[in-house]
Symmetry: C2
Subunit: 593 residues, 2 copies
Amino acid sequence: MSYQAPLRDMRFVLHELFDVSGHCQQLDNGLDRDTIDGVLEEAARFAAEVVAPLNRNSDEQGCRLQDGEVTTPDGFRQAYKQFVEQGWASMTGPLEFGGQGFPQMLSASFHEMLMSASLSFRVYSGLTEGTVLALDRHGSAELKQRYLAQLVSGEWTGTMCLTEPQAGSDLALLRTRAQPQVDGSYQLSGSKIFISGGEQDLSDNIIHLVLARLPDAPPGIKGISLFLVPKRLLDADGSPAARNALSCGALEHKMGIKGASTCVMNFDGATGWLVGQPNQGLACMFTMMNDARFQVGLQGLGIAEAAFQGGLAYARERLQSRAIKGPVALDKPADPIIVHPDVRRMLLIQKTLSEGCRMLAAYAARQLDLEHGASDPAAREAAARRAAFLIPVVKAFFTDCGQEVASLGVQLYGGHGFIREWGMEQLMRDSRITQLYEGTNGIQALDLIRRKLLGDGGSELNALIDELATQVHQATAQPEMAERVGQRLEEWRALGHSVLQACRHDPEEIGAVSVDFLAYSAYVMLAALWLQAAVRASQALAAGSGDAAFYQAKLQSADFYLRRVLPRAGAHREALLAGAGCLMAMPERSFAF
Amino acid sequence: MSYQAPLRDMRFVLHELFDVSGHCQQLDNGLDRDTIDGVLEEAARFAAEVVAPLNRNSDEQGCRLQDGEVTTPDGFRQAYKQFVEQGWASMTGPLEFGGQGFPQMLSASFHEMLMSASLSFRVYSGLTEGTVLALDRHGSAELKQRYLAQLVSGEWTGTMCLTEPQAGSDLALLRTRAQPQVDGSYQLSGSKIFISGGEQDLSDNIIHLVLARLPDAPPGIKGISLFLVPKRLLDADGSPAARNALSCGALEHKMGIKGASTCVMNFDGATGWLVGQPNQGLACMFTMMNDARFQVGLQGLGIAEAAFQGGLAYARERLQSRAIKGPVALDKPADPIIVHPDVRRMLLIQKTLSEGCRMLAAYAARQLDLEHGASDPAAREAAARRAAFLIPVVKAFFTDCGQEVASLGVQLYGGHGFIREWGMEQLMRDSRITQLYEGTNGIQALDLIRRKLLGDGGSELNALIDELATQVHQATAQPEMAERVGQRLEEWRALGHSVLQACRHDPEEIGAVSVDFLAYSAYVMLAALWLQAAVRASQALAAGSGDAAFYQAKLQSADFYLRRVLPRAGAHREALLAGAGCLMAMPERSFAF
């Protein structure tokens, strides 16, 4: 499977839909349109030429653990070296520590490309960027000075050590302990599982961020602190030297992302340093959660785009049967399967979900940028609220879409979809993890209802709907689509109100409505964005500014989405309105006899 | 993962819902209730003790090809030997050739168990049963005499050699050739792909049924004939002797069912014999298609049941967080996750889809039995029409359910779901093929619309709805559920009418509505069956005949299904009513830029 970044669509989203140049001016980062387009083109080349060719073999070869050392698949080391040397690693890092400070709205496009090219390869750097964020926001000046520049450059990588065998979704059950030492450091002891990039051969040092308990910590989540624990301790001049007392005990055998090492990490009195305040570890982690979850959302989008490209290429080449209204490829023994309505149905679901998620990703990225970079504190706060609301939706919905679109990719290939060499089944296997890690999609949905909807009594939901409704009122170029979307937005508002009432009345409703409410919200949000895309396309067509086929396709895609995908929202609405009763009635012993 | 056959539910479906004893009396096969229950119990033991333990290793080990010989995973040979010796292979075979002639309504339960225990292991015998059917119905007396008894007993196995690299869904493109010989045999030359069990080490001989073209055959599907081509030619006394000129050229590397060999089969002037009439090969294949597709439907059901059992076991054991209304397991650090509403939502989807498909499987099996075994010719014809209508639904919907339920299994396990040793991801990988082979699910949906709905102008659909509506009118024990189901049935009738009109008016509507109409039909049919289950449960509770918790659970499950799963039907209906226009509008070149 080859991959080519969808540059035309990315430019449409960034420039035509969301005015990324204006956004950059607002952020005062000096990036103009030419620079942005140049970066996108270079990024596309890197993803297609350096990363994508590694992906298929990485799945076959996987990672190997021998004598505590992990070997990544062939080519990963060289590609990672280029990734660092060419400055891709430092794209979003803070300027102060050598980063380039790119806004998420732009870097999201590059990261989407990386996800499409190889989810496994991207895992290592993605977690490093998370480590940078956490350390930059919560680390002491000394820790930053010793570790941050090398993490920003990608010379060193980072991990997140949260999960333990008994503590997954419920971190209150965490047991790893940190013993204070006289020199101000701590000794960490415990076992962590599912640590992506916990051990590998890409970087000279690995900086682990580890959640652990201090001796006097209160039980539960209020007694968890965050520590920085390097694989190699630094010597006086800051170079990695002696091995710390930690090791990779095993690699997990997984369904997919086999090129990403997933490690059991054992800390045996390893030396570490506190990041942030004692017992505030979860809060420290949460400040970077939005960014990390946004990245996982991009994984879903990246997989979806890759599966769409794979499906489309096959549908154009594979010859089976004739078009029902008469042959199209008269010179061939059969027509390419893209002539068949049901094949088009699958391709258009792939296309409109991928492009729809791309719009929502850019919209969410803008909020993340403004949250941290807007000059006006009120704008920062508003963007923070909006981002907080959107992120669980982006994480869960995009990854569900990634899985669905990858599965459609398999289906488009028929029996060949099941065969490894074609690459479609790998996308399905790789993407399946994205619905699980960084908080399962069920956890995302609980977060949306509990913290984001109940948390402010629905005011952020209503603010978002108000904004989208304003766009609907201005969508005079597409009155029929506008009416359809406008109705859904008001239905969403009413549904949000019902959900709030129900959850206040019965807390079991929170978990009963959560997943369906998240999905409903996502489908309606995408509808609103497809309307905006259609309006821009109409304007471009009216202006006769060229590229007519591209803009016509946007109108056709919007029409398809509203007619054939959006109806799913209704099913989620009806299901969630059924209430918690039918979930809770059955006694545990009656689930099977 | 351990597996235990859901015997209580199977007895409910067979005895209480569909009166399998009466059915057997009607078929005059001498099976009474005690025999049936005895067979079910023995079958459950065989599946759980002999087959299920092989499944995990078979995925790790896979099949190996060396010097043209295929080695199946450890234990398959011994288990297959027991399968044959204990008579499980011959369960459905014709009495005349040593079979036991069991009705499908009963054998379906055993086959479901096999699918749950190991899809890979079941592939070999499933195809053999298909070979028996085709040969029994179309083979000459001489061919039957030479091959059938050993195929019925399972001593020899069978394959279906249809697909070629350029001919998958479209068999018109088939190229394998058969050259007549003076002795009445044929020499077959060509290459077939995706041949399950094409080579293996389980049986002394492998009997290939091969589609090929005679020299004077017309082009397209009207020029395809069916041939029997044994791996080993038989000597004078009927024993396998000299190797025929055919070989396994390669094994496919697949996403799942790795214990089942999937072979490239090369025929290099191999000796074969015509089965049925020249150029009638597809018709011969089609007479066994219903049975083969029914078997694949059972694979979906079997996977669903296995994933439900896995998910339920984990949800009862895994301790994470507390129930929102207060702790349940006070002696433990957290509550089992089955207390959480969203976990219950996933489990109940798993449960109601599995049990719902089980009811529909029994209903469809009854039609297959009556089609071949009813004494009254009119009853045979009516059953044949009903079976023909149901089979594409069973094949496509059950396998879609299998994939969904397996994916929910993965989700229930959180990160552990992605790890191979837990077995849930294997179920997802194994089941993914079922949506592709024996006609992709898209092909099933086209078959439903084209042959089954348009084919008779909707009369069979209406007859089915009439029958289900009669049950609704009699469902006085559950008036609320009955009303809900009754409305859907009339909506279905109207939708069928609309679809018919639309497809007659524009043939592109056939492929535009097909997948959504199939899904809609399936959800409504399951709703009607859940209503019948609820009525039986109400009657049993009213009669105070014991097992109250079981019957209560049936009522709770029916309620859940109608409230939280059935709403999906509405989304499918709305999507398919959108028409073909939004699928066909986009020019092929505009799918990507």
